[in-house]
């Protein structure tokens, strides 16, 4: 009896055949490197064909080892061809960290504001750590200090409202939540400026 599994296995076998034939044809090292990714995806296809929960759980580790191997190979290729760039500006010198921080930081800060309170401050602070760690951070300390000061004032004001006008508790909760959001965010974001530079 022919099940969908057998049809899928046949299709994947054809794909694997194509992959291996392409390896026979290809002579250029860079193209071979790209084709290895194709081979890794084929391995995941076979696992995915099984189609059970266990198989689903196996795909992620399979993908991770495949990608890490591809990254190691790409690094070897760069060194081998002598085309790596010699700049050691940050600890994590990866291309995506030049472009991603602004977007990711914005998303994290907006999500943190929606969460509000302590956990919201932590999330938004993470966004700012991320931004400051990989972008220039000169002359932003004063802004952080100012914001932190106002946050403290808001927090104290909220406590006074709690004590003096208990009927306005909702306003006080909002003020305190916003204040602690800014406070935690400011504290967290200082971590992002620690890059081991002298005098920081």
């Amino acid at each position: 009896m022919i099940t969908p599994f057998h049809i899928g296995l046949f299709a994947v076998s054809l794909c694997i055949l194509v992959t291996f034939l392409s390896f026979l044809k290809e002579k250029d090292d860079l193209h071979k490197l790209i084709l290895t990714d194709l081979a890794a995806i084929m391995a995941l296809f076979i696992i995915a064909l099984v189609g059970t929960d266990l198989a689903e759980a196996l795909i992620l580790p399979g993908l991770v080892v495949g990608i890490s191997k591809l990254m190691a190979l790409a690094e070897i290729y760069l060194v081998k061809e002598g085309i790596q760039q010699k700049k050691n500006s940050t600890v994590l010198d990866i291309e995506v960290l030049d472009t991603a921080p602004a977007i990711l930081a914005a998303i994290l800060v907006i999500y943190g504001i929606i969460l509000s309170g302590f956990s919201g401050g932590a999330v938004a602070g993470l966004g700012i750590i991320f931004y400051l760690a990989f972008k220039k951070h000169d002359e932003k300390f004063e802004l952080i200090e100012t914001v932190s000061g106002y946050a403290w004032v808001t927090w104290i004001a909220a406590f006074f409202i709690f004590l003096i006008f208990p009927s306005q508790w909702f306003l006080a909760v909002m003020l305190a939540g916003g204040g602690i959001l800014l406070k935690v965010m400011a504290k967290f974001s200082l971590i992002g400026t620690m890059r081991g530079d002298p005098g920081v």
Binding site: A43, L44, I46, G66
Partner: protein, 221 residues
């Protein structure tokens, strides 16, 4: 029903941890392999890099090669990581975990030689990496076929049942051959006599032990 320890390959039971479906176990065989790995990890931790002597032809002169300390430190870290991955492959009772550890051994093998600045060595490492990457297809393919035909990946459950198809076993062995082929490539680059002598030992050792373990798995399941 036949248990793991009734089989000839394994020898006496030393230890087994009933942890649900997947049972990590030590028989005399796998226990001995694991003990060897631990010894070699200790060797990688405590040995100092070899300082090689180059002899100038046509005279009595010889000179010592420079040893680059950060590169050696990276090699040593990778050798220890390779030992840890090998240990995982020896201890695990799950076929898919075994394949994952085999791939990790491949990655760390590349890492051990990566610190060498020699173009020929890097070229050999690159070619080995491509073979090892291709080997993930039969390796994962074999594990996936075992899962598809038997519904389990546990060596403990599959032991002695004889339900695993020959094709899946063949693919598993083929995959481990691809991952464990490193010594051939590295022998080709003559890195045995290149810098980093105590650490490249781990490449040969991990490859040998992967073969020994996959033979045990194929005979048991």
């Amino acid at each position: 029903m036949i248990q793991v320890f009734d089989l000839n390959v394994e020898g006496r039971e030393l230890f087994s941890l009933s942890f649900g479906d997947i049972v990590p176990y030590f028989s005399v065989y796998t226990g001995a392999l694991a003990a060897f790995v631990i010894i070699f990890i200790l060797i990688a931790i405590f040995s100092l890099p070899e300082r090689q002597m180059n002899i100038a032809f046509g005279g009595d002169a010889y000179y010592a090669k420079e040893v680059n300390v950060p590169d050696m430190r990276f090699s040593r870290f990778m050798a220890i990581a390779c030992g840890a991955a090998t240990l995982g492959a020896m201890v695990t009772g799950d076929i898919f975990n075994f394949t994952l550890f085999a791939v990790m051994v491949g990655i760390t093998n590349i890492g051990i030689v990566a610190a060498s600045g020699n173009k020929h060595v890097l070229n050999a490492a690159f070619q080995y990496g491509i073979v090892a990457m291709l080997a993930t297809v039969p390796l994962f393919g074999g594990a996936a076929l075992i899962l598809a035909t038997t519904g389990s990946l546990s060596i403990w459950v599959l032991a002695g049942a004889g339900v695993v198809p020959l094709l899946a076993k063949a693919l598993l062995v083929l995959g481990v051959m691809g991952e464990g082929i490193a010594p051939l490539y590295i022998g080709k680059a003559e890195i045995i006599r290149a810098q980093g002598a105590p650490y490249v030992l781990m490449i040969h050792f991990s490859s040998l032990l992967l073969f020994l373990r996959v033979i045990e798995i194929v005979l048991v399941i």
